[in-house]
Amino acid sequence: MTTNWAAWALPTLALTLGMSVALRRPRAALADRMDRVSRPSDLRDAELLYQEKRFDVSEPVRLSTRLDRAYRMPSGLVVLLELKTRSVNRAFPSDVIQLSAQRLALERRTREIVAQHGYVVAQTPDGAREAHRVRLVSGQAVVALVRRREAILAGRISPRPAASVGVCRTCAYRSICPDRLGR
């Protein structure tokens, strides 16, 4: 009885394994195709180079970045992409700063040539995604911003208030912000 069970179980297991390997290939190819279709048009032929990858640099400033995705174009140029979940379908200046900092770190760590533009994919609460092409700022501008932040935290210079009143309306520091009366 045991021999009979084993004689059935082994070929069945082999068949299941064979089928799963055979079916896996088209499924993976389909996922690749769907991913390419969902990308911005100029990234469709690009190769996904990094995702959720951390790059830290200590020169010229100490910077820690984790990029969502980086694609290598057929030309060899690397393009960064950042996913953002938000209620409005647009890119903000803060996204440009984040991608520019990632660009600086990636270039320093890998010596890859990173494009001066990147993509912010805004995902709205209904799950819809739209990519926004943004122009990144230079490495010098990122370094200057890091220095400015250090100076603000050290109390050497006064911080600027938010450019938009909408930011203050939803800010968790509203009750203790010295700027709140004016807004």
Binding site: V21, L63, T85, Q98, P161, Y173
Partner: protein
């Protein structure tokens, strides 16, 4: 030296730096009083983490497909031949076992 709610680190993350583009006063307040989030912001953060997880999973699946696409043709055909061989052998064994089970009462009667 002044004490801060957030321990001072000279290393800054890209997302912390991005806050400078939102409100510099908020950067200073977060540094002095520690991180604070409204309920809506906490929910948005959780939603963001879920979306990132899914985005990462989709990327992994797509990358696997791209690897298959880049697989050299000769290697891929050997793999397909091997999978086909295993499947045929398994099917043949199962058919043989099923046939033997079906025939056994006849054999018993004949004997």
């Amino acid at each position: 030296m002044k004490k801060h709610a957030t321990p001072y680190r000279d290393v800054v993350s890209a997302s912390e730096l991005a806050e400078m583009g939102v409100c510099e006063r908020r950067v200073l307040l977060a540094h002095r009083h520690g991180p604070r989030r409204t309920l809506a912001q906490r929910r948005a953060l959780r939603r963001g983490l879920r979306a990132h997880k899914r985005f990462h999973r989709d990327g992994l699946a797509a990358n696997e497909g791209a690897t298959h696409r880049c697989c050299p043709t000769a290697f891929a055909s050997v793999g397909r031949w091997f999978v086909g061989l295993c499947t045929r052998i398994a099917l043949a064994v199962l058919c043989a076992l099923a046939g033997r089970r079906h025939r056994s009462p006849d054999l018993g009667e004949g004997g």
